[in-house]
């Protein structure tokens, strides 16, 4: 465990609180802060007067990953890939259908609400929409104080703590008296971050935290998140569809498609050495703010649309849009195994340089 930097305003408070909420489990097992094993979330589709179950939406269909201490795991994918559902299942806004979610050594998959409450102190979430995630009728102070009030931590120095949190996200404590509608999107998102940090969590789930923000503001919030991560040694699960943002903030990355992880590795491995056809297509499709890039980059344009998650293709779910698809792809689901140095789920994985030729040369 890296030592906390002396002189950081929260160090003392953090150390004291952490001692209480850890239970010493983290250091003992040596496991990740978050371990997800074969997580599945299937939503039943009900029809008719008697609400018969006629099918399922396989939103998340067997994913496993680990997030380590003070590390950011990015989860990327397009709409319908299940990345948001994954976050919501971990935080139990939605209940997992199968699989295990182990947080700080504790299996929280089916933990009843009563026992889940203390866990909430260590695992929090920041939502995508800065306009909808704050109660319009509460002042900023009330919003940031709420977690403290819920967990009985308000009476003893709560006011100071709220001021401290607001300063941490680069807002002034005077802003506490105002209402959310008086702030810009970027500021509202900071308020959401302050709220998530109120209880000294070990890990934050960030569900598209900058997608709804203007470009110039995104950078502010990204920087803030990275600073906070370093200062408080937080782990992040960073969910996004914007690959350049994910590249900036993540240490490791998982690429999701239709409820599965198709490739996972360190940031550099994924960006410099993508081996799954979907990852390659994704990297090739991202518009790069570099005019010369258009001529030199390998272009892969996928045909067709994402299949219906209620009716996924047999075998490899990507095969309907994959230029490498063969018969075996319809029959055998490729396992996520180590090939070419990192994990990938493809029968025909092969490295392909997509990005290195883009815009680095004068």
């Amino acid at each position: 465990m890296r030592p906390l930097r002396p002189g950081s305003p929260l160090t003392g408070a953090v150390l004291a609180d952490r001692a209480i909420s850890y239970d010493g489990q983290d250091g003992q097992t040596g496991n990740g802060v978050l371990d997800v094993e074969d997580l599945k979330v299937h939503f039943p589709i009900k029809e008719g007067l008697r609400r018969r179950v006629v099918g399922h939406v396989y939103a998340v269909d067997g994913i496993s990953f680990r997030v380590g201490h003070s590390e950011t795991l990015g989860l990327v994918g397009e709409s319908g890939c299940g990345k948001s559902t994954t976050a919501r299942a971990i935080i139990r806004l939605v209940n997992p259908t199968d699989g295990r979610v182990v947080f700080m050594g504790q299996d929280i998959t089916t933990l009843p609400r009563k026992y889940l409450r203390p866990v909430r102190k260590s695992l929090q979430i920041v939502f995508q929409d800065p306009y909808a995630s704050l109660n319009p009728r509460m002042t900023v102070r009330e919003i940031v104080a709420e977690p403290l009030k819920i967990h009985g931590l308000w009476d003893d120095g709560g006011v100071d703590r709220v001021a401290e949190l607001l300063r941490l996200v680069q807002l002034s404590p005077e802003h506490g008296n105002r209402f959310p509608h008086e702030f810009s999107g970027g500021q509202r998102q900071r308020i959401g971050v302050a709220r998530a940090l109120a209880l000294n969590p070990r890990m934050l789930l960030l569900d598209e935290p900058v997608s709804a923000l203007d470009v110039s503001i995104q950078a502010q919030v990204i920087n803030l998140l990275m600073e906070i991560q370093e200062e408080l040694e937080l782990s992040y699960l960073f969910i996004a569809h914007d690959l350049s943002v994910v590249r900036h903030i993540s240490h490791r990355l998982g690429v999701m498609y239709l409820g599965r992880i198709v490739e996972m590795g360190t940031r550099d491995e994924i960006f410099e050495n993508p081996t799954h056809p979907y990852t390659q297509a994704l990297l090739s499709a991202v518009p790069v703010p570099e005019p010369r890039g258009r001529e030199t980059r390998e272009r892969i344009v996928l045909r067709g649309d994402v299949p219906n998650p209620a009716d996924p293709p047999s075998g490899c779910v990507f095969r309907t849009r994959c230029w490498k698809a063969q018969d075996i792809c319809a029959v055998e689901t490729p396992p996520l195994v180590e090939q070419f140095g990192h994990l990938v789920a493809c029968h025909f994985a092969a490295p392909l340089e997509i990005l290195s030729s883009t815009g680095d040369k004068a």
């Binding site: 935080i91 995630s133 109660n135 009728r137 977690p147 209402f179 008086e182 702030f183 810009s184 999107g185």
Partner: protein, 316 residues
């Protein structure tokens, strides 16, 4: 250019204008230090009709509540020498008198007071009922929701009013308080539906999910997060209930149900006077006008409230 295309274009214009205004406001680009309530209050004060109605209604309300001091005569005081007088300032019989000399200004005042009692009870009881039932149904959903909605449907389809009113004649005829409670059981259904709808939609909002993730209890979520955000529609509806309650009570006492003598009731006053409409027009007219006035005022106030609480209206 076909009609359909023209209409499509017009829809586009509306949408484009709205989007343009929204994009400007969305970024908090004008820092406005008014809260929703302050903004609503300001908008309400600008609504002339509502403000006038509020003033008039307040005056009527005060006069009726303090009827004991304002009315020149008790409700039932007869004064045979002054019988059948047309409205006159003599003896302060400004609404005239009836065949046995009862002063109709006083009677109207007392009748109004009864109406207000009834309306108040009906509005509060049915609002509370509506919020509780609609809230539970909307928040918990599923079987609970189904059950409660079937209950609501029951209250709508079975002629509870008829049944209860007939019963009431056995349970203590004509007492305004009892009648009010019975009526309240009629009016909660509309509010329950609305509250349920609000709860259903607010339940999915991200700030409610955020509260759940923070570990908030159900009651905290309901009272701290959802209810304050439903206040707008609830208030508007409660106002309408008041208006309707007054009208229904008047209709009932007119028909001989509901509130009965010795309790004063505007409807009964009207029914008493309907036979002499041509000869002593003032007997039915003034109580009737009073009802109309009150109902209109409440409706206009309701309009004003609805406009004031509508968050979308930012255009001058």
């Amino acid at each position: 250019m076909t009609d359909q295309q023209v209409r499509a274009d017009e829809a586009l214009e509306t949408e484009a204008t709205r989007a343009a205004l929204e994009s400007v406001h969305l970024e908090g680009l004008e820092v406005q230090s008014l809260t929703q309530w302050q903004l609503a209050r300001r908008k309400f004060f600008q609504h002339k009709l509502a403000m006038t109605s509020l003033v008039i209604l307040t005056l009527v309300f005060l006069a009726a509540m303090f009827a004991d001091f304002v009315a020149p005569y008790p409700f039932d005081a007869t004064n045979v020498p002054d019988r059948s007088l047309a409205p006159t300032f003599e003896g302060l019989h400004i609404f005239g008198t009836d065949k046995i000399g009862r002063d109709y200004f006083s009677r109207t005042l007392y009748g109004t007071r009864t109406s207000m009692y009834v309306a108040f009870i009906v509005a509060s009881v049915s609002t509370v009922l509506g919020i509780v039932i609609g809230g539970i149904a909307g928040y918990y959903g599923g079987k609970v929701d189904n059950l409660l909605m079937r209950l609501t449907d029951l209250f709508l389809t079975i002629p509870f009013l008829a049944i209860l009113l007939v019963l009431s004649s056995f349970l203590g005829a004509g007492n305004p308080v009892r009648v009010a409670f019975i009526l309240a059981f009629l009016f909660w259904t509309g509010l329950a539906r609305i509250v349920r709808g609000e709860f259903l939609s607010l339940r999915e909002k991200e700030f409610v999910e955020a509260a759940k993730v923070l570990g908030a209890s159900d009651s905290r979520i309901i009272f701290r997060h959802i209810l304050p955000n439903t206040a707008g529609p609830i208030i508007v509806n409660a106002t309408l209930i008041v208006a309707t309650a007054i009208l229904v009570e008047a209709a009932l006492s007119f028909l001989g149900f509901g509130i009965q003598p010795p309790f004063p009731a505007l409807g009964k006053l009207i029914s008493d006077g309907q036979d002499s409409l041509t000869t002593q027009w003032w007997l039915a007219t003034f109580p009737g006008l009073t009802i109309v006035l009150i109902a209109l005022c409440i409706n206009f106030i309701g309009d004003g409230l609805r406009d004031a609480l509508d968050p979308k209206q930012r255009i001058k």
